[in-house]
Amino acid sequence: MKPSLFKKAETALHLLSIALGLYALYLVFMVVPNERVMGPVQRIFYFHVGAAMATYCSVGLIFLSALLHFATRNRFWDTLSVAAAEVGLLFCAVVMATGMIWGHAAWNTWFRWEPRLVSFLVLMLILIGINLLRIFGDKGKVANHAAAFAILAAVNVPLVIWSIDLLPQSAQLHPKVVQDQGLKDPSFVKAMLFGMLAMVSLQFSLVFVRTKVESVLRLKDSI
């Protein structure tokens, strides 16, 4: 890719994040009505779900870069993996925090040991593990080790996504909002969609900048 085109793409990405974020915030705070049962606190849902999507995107990026690292041995994929792991952990923490705030406000429980919440907590622990491995691993072998670990981490994500559908209903607390047609008002769906797009575009911007910083650091170390 030509440098000037690359710079234009980067500018577009940042502008897109700003635009999508502002529109999502406008929809959430100025357009959607209060939810019938939970009231205004339900608005946190739009960013909670968006942050969860961003986490899945990050884990997907880590998985992809691990596979490409083993296939091509190009150092870029390892650099991307470092960035995606850090950003993934950040968004995972956001999901847990917003989930706890929403849970306490709506159902008076900070946390409950049911499949969806536990599997997301496990995902967060796995992402912490990947980052620890990057910090404390053997410098010569950490690329291979982190890639192997990333593949193992990625196989846990389908469990997180589908734990609500696959595991017994008696164990569930987490709401099956979309599937049970809880979003009756079409503005709810639009706000959720733009919330997701805003968070995912922020995630891509963060990964982009972090990858740039990491590649400069590696260049400095190799000189």
Binding site: V118, G129, L133, L152, L159, L167, P168
Partner: protein, 225 residues
């Protein structure tokens, strides 16, 4: 097949001659069952409640003893790098993985069985009716745990933190296996017969197969320098 048997013989001979791993596992098993029993009796729990926490106690003891003892199985492979020699001599990484996996599975199974017997003895439990299904479920749990541990231990071995980082990396990955296993054991203790079509069994078996497949395929990437 001959190479696998030779590798297996080597690993089992090391285990039986040094007896390190097996002694540590059995020792930890007895210690954990004794400590848990003291705690349980101090809490003055009724027998039904004691029986219902058995799967959790057993899992915790198993996790603690296996995390400590699994690093021992790799000590010999890293002093003077005999593992590299093995790989150069014609043994494929997949065969090395399978032999390590089978040895660790044997050791962990012996340890877990001792822990279970320890709990039955110290807590005066009667689990005769559910003993076989429970050992089957724990066998499946150990299978998945050992598959993932056989891949993760070499990763942590080359890191600065070594033994400290092993539980941090290993335990989150074993959550689906533990979750499934504990749920099934709890329902066994509650009197519900073992249902092989239950989603928890699918979760357990699914992750066992997945981790074994991934472990076999990624082992060479992790150990070859």
């Amino acid at each position: 097949m001959k190479i696998l048997l030779a590798l297996l013989r080597k690993d089992l001979l090391i285990e039986f001659r040094t007896k390190e791993t097996i002694f540590v596992t059995i020792g930890m098993a007895i210690l954990m069952s004794a400590i848990a029993s003291v705690g349980v009796s101090a809490a003055l729990l009724p027998p039904a409640a004691v029986k219902s926490v058995l799967p959790v106690l057993l899992t915790l003891s198993f996790l603690l003893s296996s995390t400590i003892s699994m690093t021992r199985t790799y000590e010999y492979e890293y002093q003077d790098r005999p593992l590299q020699g093995l790989l150069m001599s014609g043994a494929t990484p997949q065969l090395v993985f399978v032999s390590k996996f089978l040895t660790n599975f044997l050791t962990m199974s012996v340890g877990t069985l001792t822990t279970l017997l320890g709990f039955v003895f110290f807590l005066n439990l009667s689990i005769a009716q559910i003993f076989l299904p429970m050992t089957f479920i724990f066998g499946l749990m150990i299978l998945g745990f050992v598959a993932i541990a056989t891949l993760i231990v070499p990763i942590t071995f080359s890191s600065r933190l070594r033994g400290v980082i092993l539980p941090l990396l290993l335990l989150p990955l074993t959550f689906p296996i533990l979750f499934g296993g504990i749920e099934i054991c709890s329902s066994l203790i509650a009197g519900i017969p073992l249902d092989l079509s239950s989603p928890w069994i699918s979760l357990l078996v699914g992750f066992d197969v997945l981790y074994m497949a991934i472990g076999m395929n990624l082992f060479d990437k992790v150990v070859i320098e």
